[in-house]
């Protein structure tokens, strides 16, 4: 909201002239506003009839629940002349008065409207509304609503079950993280493709060719990229031990810096800091297909023996996987994007499907936080599986029979998983 201040200095000699101007302009403005309400001004006709319409009725204003105290809901019964076909009502105007001041138009709505949500209000201001139906040349206003102040709710109780389930899962995650920190071994099932990592690096070493690591094209805020960088830590540690060449073209500058740190740390942990070189990781471009063109070129020219495609990919996934396949490299891929998984499965030797990428990251790093998170997620999956099994069973029985108890349980389960804002 902005305010403008105007000052006007009036001299006696200009007063009468100004008065004439003002009278003339007021008369003109009233003609203009009359024509705006009634439609474009045309030649006056002796037989123009005012179209009389009924006013909208029962305007009710109420607080919009579970917001920041800046919204109100206005409902009304539309004018009886507002018909789907041949109706005389052309629309509605909503007027609002703040703290008893002059009512101002705040919205123009189409015919058939009976609801309006007013946002951007203030909790310490009292508001009164009325609704005006308009025809081609007339208006009909409703009565005023009661005065109301919007209220702020601190908690959105519609989301209480979402909060509860999130709390259960979060508590499980924390519990398992603490359990892992205390040294207890957390079981994670075998993941096909992980055993192939060491084998693939060994192959590159024997062939004297490089390893190409592609962490996807997402930035560091994507959890897939984080998982890829974690696996990179493990891979680069083995690479440092075997003294194999590793090459990592990236599409984001943040990923480049994170990857360089990771590989450097691995080389230092392997006792080979001298062998590390910043050129192992280089930034290409942010542009998706520009990156693909460059990486394809690297694959064809350098012919790496092993290619890791781990992270977030989009349309470039098949191009990269197919080119890698054509140069005879062993390819280990993993992404959580369902749209790209079919390509990796078709063109790569091993694929980590969806959450297996995150599980692999936890499995290889052995980090308590990652392992604990994985176990906590399993609790969440368990809740979902149970809800689906129970829900489907109960709803199938309830649909066929008429059992009140089963219906009540079913309603509760459905209510828990229904999210409304």
């Amino acid at each position: 909201m902005s305010f403008k201040k105007n000052t006007l200095t009036v001299t006696p000699s200009a007063f009468s002239f100004s008065l004439l101007i003002i009278i003339f302009m007021t008369a003109a403005a009233s003609v203009v506003s009359a024509s705006a309400v009634s439609g474009p001004a045309g030649p006056p006709e002796a037989d123009t009839v005012e179209i009389v319409i009924a006013s909208p009725t029962s305007p009710v204003v109420s607080d919009f629940k579970y917001d920041d105290g800046n919204s109100l809901i206005l409902t009304w019964v539309p004018s009886i002349d507002d018909l789907p076909v041949g109706g005389k009502v052309l629309g509605y105007h909503v007027y609002r008065s703040d703290n008893g001041g002059e009512a101002k138009k705040i919205a123009e709505l189409i015919p058939g409207s009976n609801y309006f949500k007013d946002d951007d209000l203030y909790g310490d201001t009292t508001y009164v509304y009325h609704v005006v139906a308009r025809s081609a040349n007339s208006r009909a206003a409703s009565i005023n609503t009661e005065a109301i102040q919007p209220r702020r709710e601190w908690v959105n109780l519609n989301l209480k079950y979402l909060f509860l389930i999130a709390l259960i899962i979060a508590a499980s995650v924390i519990y398992f993280i603490e359990t892992a920190k205390r040294g207890k071994k957390l079981f994670v099932r075998k993941i096909a493709g992980l055993e192939a990592v060491d084998e693939a690096i060994g192959r590159a070493t024997e062939m004297g060719r490089s390893i190409l690591f592609i962490p996807g094209i997402n930035d560091m805020d994507d959890v897939q990229t984080l998982a890829a960088i974690t696996i990179l830590g493990r891979v680069s540690r083995v690479v440092a031990d075997y003294d194999t060449k590793i090459r990592m073209p990236v599409a984001r500058s943040l990923v480049m810096t994170a990857a360089r740190e990771t590989i450097k740390a691995s080389y230092m942990a392997a006792g080979r800091p001298d062998a590390y070189n910043d050129d192992m990781v280089n930034y290409i471009t942010d542009e998706q297909f520009g990156y693909v063109a460059a990486v394809d070129g690297i694959m064809v020219r350098e012919k790496p023996a092993t290619i890791f495609l781990l992270g977030g990919f989009f349309a470039e996934s098949l191009i990269l996987a197919e080119t890698g396949n054509s140069v005879g490299a062993i390819q280990i891929a993993g992404t959580a994007r369902p749209a790209q998984l079919p390509f990796f499965i078709a063109a790569c030797d091993f694929t980590l499907i969806g959450e297996e990428l995150f599980a692999a990251s936890a499995y290889l790093s052995g980090e308590p936080k990652q392992l604990g998170s994985l176990k906590g997620q399993d609790i969440g999956k368990g809740i979902a599986m149970l809800a689906i099994l129970l829900g489907v069973l109960l709803s199938t029985i309830a649909a066929v029979g008429d059992t009140e108890t089963i219906t009540e349980i079913l309603k509760f389960i459905t209510k828990v998983f229904t999210v409304t804002n």
């Binding site: 389930i165 560091m220 805020d221 098949l318 079919p342 399993d378 689906i388 709803s395």
Partner: protein
């Protein structure tokens, strides 16, 4: 000028397509032009849309933009090795803020609503209606429920895939693979569509061979 731009676009298109035959100088030239051009484009776009459009124009009205700018400057400290560790703070902020936002979005839309949508009577269209669903609807319902449940079992990492659990997980991976096959087919269509677009340009706009 129009002639030049058409021939240039056709030259670059065919240069990229020539990769299908083998790697060659024409492809390398086109690739280099594309990589350089795209890097430059993104630099300019990010400068005008992000730095100028968001920060410079809005900084007087929205003082919190200075906080974002400051965090952005901290990122650049990575270039100074001695104090490069400070750049981890804005990185943590980005990761944390995005995680927090995505937690609610994904939890609500991709978990809660999907579980709600999966809870359905298998043989009826409404409660109390008896076995009134069509056979096709029943099969559809069974596929959805079976596929969702077995898929979840496959991704359960806390139990070894043995016995009945293992069989259920195996069915889950079959369902997943069938889904991937359908998705692959859809994607083949997408790739063909893009190639058709290019062929329309080459044979239509450039050579005028098609109407």
């Amino acid at each position: 000028m129009e002639h030049f731009s058409l021939w240039l676009a056709a030259f670059l298109t065919l240069g990229i397509i020539s990769f299908l035959y083998k790697d060659n100088a024409w492809y390398k030239l086109t690739e280099a032009i594309f990589v350089g051009l795209s890097a430059g484009y993104w630099f300019v776009a990010l400068f005008w849309d992000n730095f100028y459009g968001k920060f410079w124009i809005g900084k007087d009205e929205h003082l919190y933009l200075y906080v974002g700018a400051f965090l952005g400057l901290l990122m650049l400290l990575r270039l100074i090795p001695k104090i490069g560790w400070i750049s981890r703070w804005p990185l943590s902020f980005i990761v944390g803020a995005t995680s927090g936002l995505w937690l609610i979005n994904y939890f609500s839309s991709n978990i809660m609503k999907q579980v709600q949508a999966t809870i359905m009577p298998l043989f009826s269209t409404q409660y109390g209606a008896g076995f009134n669903a069509e056979p096709a609807t029943i099969i559809g319902n069974l596929v959805i429920v079976f596929g969702t449940f077995t898929g979840l079992v496959y991704f359960f990492f806390s139990k070894e895939h043995k016995g009945a659990f293992g069989y259920t997980a195996k069915m889950g991976i079959w369902v997943i693979m069938i889904t991937f096959g359908a998705s692959f087919g859809y994607t083949v269509m997408s790739r063909m569509s893009l190639f058709i677009g290019r062929i329309d340009f080459l044979l239509g706009e450039w050579l005028g061979m098609i109407l």
